[in-house]
């Protein structure tokens, strides 16, 4: 039923597929859930184009045929209506809508199946981290926290997932309502304070996918981006193990400058930004900070941008909770050491 549109002589309108930037566009799906949703969009689009073509054809015919011509003064026949016609244009839309409603109801229930996979025929229980991954995505003004309860990991801003694995996301919010959307992988669900929503998806291919907040949540709503990084199973395991138990050089770095940077980090940053499970969770977890592609969710990851962000976060991302560190709290030299230390927090090459 869902692929009924293939039978329609409208395949020339496939132009919709592939619009926009890869890994961002819902029109360029990179996984089964977004595929299912694009198929449904296309089915609805074809039915609607059929409607539009019929309406426009009658419309243009009528306007051309029955336009007033110069000198024409006849009074048209005053027609009351027509029962048969009324019946036809009541019944046909109902049939067209049923063609859409049935697959939609089926898909709506499929998308709601967010339970973890069941044990297989031999009674082998599925392994979290391999057969499926549960991620608790908590939205904050204006960043994303990704907890992996089974793997005891807390990550910020970037959500690592293994390819070809069922990903179950539980959505929560700490302040206002946000909404979690990865256009190329899965449609959105809202992060609502006091309620836990969930969704599932899979990413068959490795890649970096863009995620967005779609519910207005304050002045920096538009900057509340995140990334979904799909890697192969062994890379994911490496990442997960390191995140859960960071290596000694993260907490006790070698090298004079980095040692000083670590001390500054402990004095100023760790209350909000944890490394491993050590530290607070007011801001994003820093364990793999040097792997991040962006600073603050949107700036290119360079030392200059990081410096600017630490000095004046409010002007870059108004309304966020990060305090500014001006020269009186953090000298230029101290900032250099801090950034050098942060640059060592790297898990994946």
């Amino acid at each position: 039923m869902k692929h009924l549109w293939r039978l329609l002589p409208f395949s020339f309108i496939l132009l919709l597929a592939g619009c926009g930037v890869e890994n961002l566009s819902a029109l360029d799906p990179q996984g089964p859930v977004a595929d299912m949703q694009l198929s449904l969009i296309q089915l609805s689009l074809y039915i609607m184009i059929l409607v539009i073509v019929v309406v426009f054809a009658v419309y243009l015919f009528v306007l051309i045929k029955f336009r007033e011509r110069p000198g024409d003064t006849h009074i048209p026949k005053q027609v009351h209506g027509n029962r048969t016609l009324e019946f036809i244009w009541t019944t046909i839309p109902i049939l067209l809508l049923l063609m859409l409603a049935v697959p939609n109801v089926m898909d709506t229930f499929t998308l709601a199946e967010t339970s973890i996979p069941e044990a297989d025929e031999d009674g082998v229980e599925p392994v979290p981290g391999e057969d499926y991954v549960t991620i608790r995505a908590t939205a904050h003004q204006f960043w994303w926290e990704f907890e992996y309860p089974e793997l005891e990991i807390n990550a910020g801003q970037e959500m690592y997932i293994p390819t070809d694995t069922r990903i179950i996301v539980e959505l929560e919010a700490s302040d206002v309502i946000h909404s979690f959307w990865i256009p190329a992988l899965v449609g959105k669900q809202d992060n609502v304070p006091g309620i836990t929503n969930d969704l599932w998806f899979e990413a068959p291919e490795e890649g970096v996918f863009f995620g967005k907040c779609t519910e207005i949540c304050g002045p920096s709503h538009w900057l509340m981006d995140f990334k979904v990084i799909a890697v192969d199973q062994s890379t994911f395991t490496t990442w997960a193990d390191t995140m859960a138990a960071p290596p000694a050089e993260f907490t006790e770095p070698q090298g004079e400058v980095a040692v000083e940077g670590r001390q500054i980090f402990e004095a100023n940053c760790i209350a909000c930004h944890a490394i491993g499970d050590e530290g607070g969770a007011v801001g994003p977890n820093f364990t793999n900070y040097a792997d991040r592609e962006v600073v603050a969710g949107f700036l290119e990851h360079t030392d200059e941008n990081l410096r600017e962000w630490i000095r004046d976060p409010q002007s870059l991302k108004p309304g966020n909770e990060m305090p500014a560190f001006d020269e009186s709290t953090l000298s230029e030299e101290e900032l250099d050491s801090l950034i050098e230390y942060i640059d060592t927090l790297q898990i994946l090459e």
Partner: protein, 610 residues
């Protein structure tokens, strides 16, 4: 019985105290056009901000305020009052009445709307407008710092009371005040749609009132209805808001449907095809409008059962809407179609609204809605419906009824320039936004990053918005320079309904003798089957008229003062404001006012109707 007509007064006093439905209608139009210009300016500011990636023309906080005020202004202070203007002016004429059922309440409704709208806009000058979008979802709105959202809550509460009063007034008027012979099934479609819209107002606005009340209690009196930490629930607001908000869409579009039905029939010189089907389709749309509110909340986590039910219920609305589209097409079929500006807008509505309608069905597809929701696809959809439906309706109605309302015809040449610029600008602005949404652009973003493939279409959209802005300026020029066209204004379009049986400008008593209605399209019937004049249903006699009153302004002013007291938690002022309001109500209750009579001699002098 007092026969003394009040002494001649100044023009200003006359307008401030009037209870004449025609003057109130004109005041609704003027205020509505003012707020429409304001909301349009806000739209232009937003489009300038979104012209280029990472462009900060307004600042993100200010952008959110402009965004909130654009939506709130356009819905509550522009579209509704403009429609109320037509409903006020036209409906009593169409049913052959001398006025609405409650002229005093009619005036009160207008002044409440105006004071509420002005109150809302005062926030610009007192430290920031509301910034939580027109939907004001909690907890963003309940936690919003400053007083912006307080202005939203009280401004909408005051103006909403005015709307509710207006709705009740129209219901009573249409049920009770129809001329002899005008059965319900002989009412013009615009009157029918006003009737159904008024029912929607009656049932929808209380939900908004309660939502706003709860939000006010949370923000101003430390309540915790929406405070999750104290056991509150934030989704309740969304239900209350959309139980109002979805019918609100039909409150806006149904009167426009009514206008198109009149205008298309007039300029095709044909009776409306399938009149009774059109009436029932209107009623069904009004009924289903209350059954589908949760389709705005598919992603909030209601579960697949609720989502599936609301998806199917929403799709069902496409059926009566489709019936209407085909009936309009068949009204045109076999007609003699005249392309006046009024009809151009009505004709442009059919394809534009069809496009907005089909994207509505796409949005109703719940599983696909997870992709559409809160993106620019939604922005494109509702602008196609609201501009392609409601705004086109308002412009069509303006060009159609302007001679009746203001006594001069709007210039057709300038009007056509306006029409084409507006139409092209509109499609340029909003067509590309369908794609922007699916390509990953959420709505209500204060800017967008470079390198996401969104640059070109945003620029196109802004260019379209500028065209619409220029078009609006041409409209304003048209309204001014057309004033010399005062000839042929009584019945310039060979109208079908009763309002065209009155002279322009319409005398204050509308009809010297209440007309006798013998057929649907009463005037057309008399012109083509009878002797061209409406039959009178009563002998010529003195006409009893209500006196004007300044009290509605005081009642509204008192509530506005009380609102300031609430916003700034200075409850002495709240009490003073309420005393003004209740004092004015008390004066109204004890003061005897029997109105006055217009003597037959004066009616004969002014009797110009055919």
């Amino acid at each position: 019985m007092s026969n003394a007509k009040a002494q001649p007064k100044s023009v200003l006093w006359d307008w401030l105290t009037t209870v004449d439905h025609k003057k109130i209608g004109i005041m609704y139009m003027v205020a509505g056009l003012f707020f429409f210009a304001l909301g349009g300016l806000e739209a232009i500011l937003m489009r300038i901000q979104l012209m280029f990636p990472e462009f900060s023309f307004l600042g993100y906080q200010t952008y959110n305020e402009v965004l909130t005020m654009h939506g709130t202004t356009m819905i509550f202070l522009a579209a509704m009052p403009l429609l109320f203007g037509f409903m006020n002016f036209i409906v009593p004429l169409q049913i052959g009445a001398r006025d609405v059922a409650f002229p005093f309440l009619n005036s009160l409704g207008f002044w409440l709307f105006l004071f509420g709208g002005l109150l809302l806009n005062v926030s610009w000058f007192t430290g920031g407008a509301p910034d939580a979008a027109w939907t004001a979802y909690v907890p963003l709105s309940s936690d919003s710092p400053g007083h912006g959202v307080d202005y939203y809550v009280l401004g909408l509460q005051v103006s909403g009371a005015g709307t509710l009063i207006g709705g009740i007034n129209f219901l009573v008027t249409i049920i009770n005040m129809r001329a002899p012979g005008m059965s319900m099934m002989r009412m013009p479609l615009f009157t029918w749609s006003t009737f159904v819209t008024s029912m929607l107002i009656l049932f929808a606005f209380p939900a908004l009132t309660i939502g706003l009340l709860l939000l006010m209690l949370d923000r101003i009196f430390g309540g915790a209805f929406f405070d999750v930490a104290a056991g509150g629930n934030v989704v309740i607001w969304q239900h209350l808001f959309w139980i109002f908000g979805h019918p609100e869409v039909y409150i806006l579009i149904l009167p426009a449907f009514g206008m198109f039905s009149e205008i298309i029939a007039t300029f095709a010189k044909k009776r409306l095809f399938g009149y009774s089907a059109m009436v029932f389709a209107t009623l069904i749309i009004g009924f289903l409008g209350f059954m589908v509110w949760a389709h705005h909340m598919f992603t909030v986590g209601m579960g697949p059962v609720a989502n599936a039910i609301f998806a199917v219920a929403t799709m069902a609305i496409a059926v009566p809407t489709g019936i209407k589209i085909f009936n309009w097409l068949l009204t045109l079929w076999g007609g003699r179609i005249k392309f006046t500006v009024a009809n151009l807008f009505a004709l442009a509505f059919i394809p534009s609204f069809t496009m907005g309608g089909v994207t509505g069905v796409m949005l109703a597809t719940s599983a696909a809605n997870y992709q559409f929701h809160d993106t620019y696809f939604v922005v494109a959809h509702f602008h196609y419906v609201i501009i392609g439906g409601v705004v086109f309706g308002i412009f069509a109605g303006m060009f159609y009824w302007w001679p009746k309302m203001f006594g001069y015809r709007l210039d057709e040449t300038l009007g056509k320039i306006f029409f084409w610029l507006f139409l092209i600008g509109f499609h340029l602005t909003f067509f590309v936004q369908h794609f922007l949404g699916l390509m990953g652009m959420p709505r209500r973003v204060a800017s967008f990053l470079d390198g996401q493939g969104l640059n070109e279409m945003n620029l196109i959209s802004t260019i379209g918005a500028f065209m619409m802005g220029v078009a609006f300026i041409i409209l304003v020029i048209t309204l001014i320079v057309s004033r010399k066209n005062t000839d042929n204004v009584d019945d310039p379009w060979d109208g079908r309904t009763l309002e065209w049986a009155t002279p322009s400008p319409v005398p204050e008593y509308n009809f010297a003798q209440t007309p006798l209605v013998r057929e649907l399209d009463a005037l057309w019937h008399e012109k083509y089957e009878g002797d061209g004049k409406m039959k009178a249903a009563e002998p010529l006699d003195d006409i009893h008229m209500p006196n004007g009153s300044i009290l509605p302004i005081f009642i509204s002013l008192g509530l506005t003062v009380a609102s300031f007291g609430l916003i700034y938690s200075t409850h002495v002022i709240t009490v003073i404001g309420l005393l003004i309001t209740f004092g004015a109500m008390f004066v109204r209750s004890i003061k005897e006012d029997h109105g006055y009579h217009i003597p037959v001699s004066e009616i004969k002098r002014g009797k110009g109707e055919r």
